[in-house]
Amino acid sequence: MSTLIPCPHCGDRPVQEFRYGSEAPASRPQTDSSIDPAPLSSLLYDSVNPKGLASEWWQHTAGCRLWFAIQRDTATDLIAETSA
């Protein structure tokens, strides 16, 4: 992992200040009266868990405490992009 993560609010900060939250899921399936449990269960539990570019939520826990989105290559641990 890079030793610095570019927080969209605070700029480059040491990785120890951050916390991995979760994978950024695809959009929530439409829920109406005819709810199919399979896609909802998949949204809750399943991961893309890619070996390559992953979209994740991280939190700047020891800084501004805001959540942000991060694009990260899990095969090399390099950060491609962060966005608020």
């Binding site: 992992m1 399943d46 893309v48 868990n49």
Partner: protein, 423 residues
């Protein structure tokens, strides 16, 4: 050829010049009845049990070399002190198989049941371990709460942090050891030997073990896999068993479905060899460290997983620093000892930290994945159960709780007694 004291003696007199390779290097055939993906402990054990059941022609495909993944990267601890009834029952059975494994395989896996002490440093952990001891008693696994005096007798080098304490929890170290739990059946084994022993035994029963053969895709007819594409050609097959670690999500993606599994690095490292001083495994959940001394004298040290998911196979230095700090806290006199090497295994952790030993969304593809930080100890029972699952298509009672459908049915098996448990 069967290994024995006599065969060793005969080879010794011949100057050890004519040992034969322990398994063949067969050519990949175009078709097999069953293909197992993953040549680690679980894949090889599954192939061995399938061959014993007479399940037809079997191939094991391994991307790299045998036991080169998590089978060769773990800290080799074997134990059954879990939380869930279902996990305890499964791992108690696995421990019984470990005791017989060397003679089952005619290969010395160097299983050494030296016991494990779980150190209790918080009142919450004391309550947790009392609960686990009660569950384990129901399944015939010995697990006894012991005093700090007993711990001091067993491991005099441990700094329990009680010096200067008025009573447990007041004075002394911030988290003095309050007591422990003694798990006498736990132990360690030689991890390479486990992969090699199963490979040799499976090969003797006719299993084709194909190394340097990576799966690149599946050919499907509806919900059935008809053939597997590999870097060494296409193989048609009627059943597929997936026994991979660190790549469960990658293989599932190739097969066209997703799993409730994330991949995390789990760091381990060893010290330089020291004279024998640590005769049991020590586990300290409060400071996230477990340590045992190998037969060569090296301390084998592990901790919790890294703080973020990764497939990079290297692990975070921050974890090594934290775990080392915990080690010095327990054994202050190791402060000047050098570390020899450090590595990481990529562990596939399911949402509830329990394994997935199950049918899959495809009709003839079966899963033995998501073993997290605890796959090594589960190899004998996991291989046996997975072979039965592949042959019958139905999970037996022992593994029924580990089905993939447990999430959608609202029956997840949250397991806290593992290094990869969610905090």
């Amino acid at each position: 050829m069967s290994y024995s004291a006599l065969s060793l003696l005969i080879h010794a007199f011949r100057g050890h010049r004519d040992w034969k390779p322990a398994w063949r290097e067969p050519e990949l055939k175009p078709a097999y009845d069953i293909v197992i993906i993953g040549g680690g402990g679980h894949g090889l054990a599954t192939a061995f049990h399938l061959a014993q059941l007479g399940a037809g022609t079997i191939a094991v495909l391994e991307k790299g070399w045998l036991g080169g993944g998590n089978t060769g990267r773990n800290t080799a601890v074997i134990r059954a002190n879990y939380l869930r009834e279902e996990s305890v029952r499964f791992h108690a059975h696995s421990m019984a198989l470990w005791n017989e494994l060397s003679s089952t395989l005619n290969f010395n896996v160097m299983f050494s049941p030296r016991g494990q002490i779980d150190l209790i440093r918080t009142w919450g952990k004391l309550r947790d371990l009392r609960r686990r001891a009660a569950i384990m008693e129901r399944h015939g696994v010995e697990y006894d709460l012991i005093s700090t005096r007993r711990i001091r007798e067993m491991v005099p080098d441990l700094d329990l942090g009680t010096e200067g304490a008025i009573e447990p929890g007041f004075g002394g170290k911030r988290l003095p050891v309050l007591g422990g739990a003694w798990h006498p059946g736990a132990g360690v084994a030689r991890h390479d030997a486990v992969a090699w022993g199963y490979a040799r035994a499976a090969d003797a029963l006719g299993v084709d073990i194909i190394q340097n053969c990576e799966v690149t895709g599946f050919r499907r007819d509806g919900q059935r896999v008809t053939a597997i594409e590999t870097t060494r050609g296409s193989i048609s097959t009627s059943k597929v068993g997936v026994a991979v670690a660190g790549h469960a999500g990658v293989v599932a993606e190739l097969a066209g479905f997703r799993l409730p599994v994330d991949t995390w690095p789990l760091v381990a490292f060893v010290s330089e060899p020291l004279k024998p001083f640590l005769h049991t495994c020590i586990n300290c959940p409060a400071t996230q460290i477990y340590v045992n001394q190998s037969d060569k004298g090296e301390l084998v040290i592990g901790g919790g997983p890294d703080r973020y998911r990764s497939h990079a196979q290297k692990g975070d230095w921050e974890t090594v620093e934290n775990v080392t700090r915990s080690l010095i806290d327990l054994f202050p006199r190791l402060g000047r000892v050098k570390l020899l090497r450090q590595w990481a295994g990529m562990i596939d952790v399911a949402y509830d930290t329990s394994p997935i030993l199950s049918r899959s969304p495809l009709d003839n593809l079966y899963l033995s994945v998501g073993w997290g930080s605890g796959g090594f100890k589960a190899i004998p029972a996991g291989g046996e159960a997975f072979a039965k699952l592949i042959v019958t298509g139905m999970p037996d009672e022992l593994i029924a709780p580990f089905g993939l459908d447990r999430f959608q049915r609202g029956r997840p098996l949250f397991e806290t007694a593992s290094a990869s448990a969610r905090g």
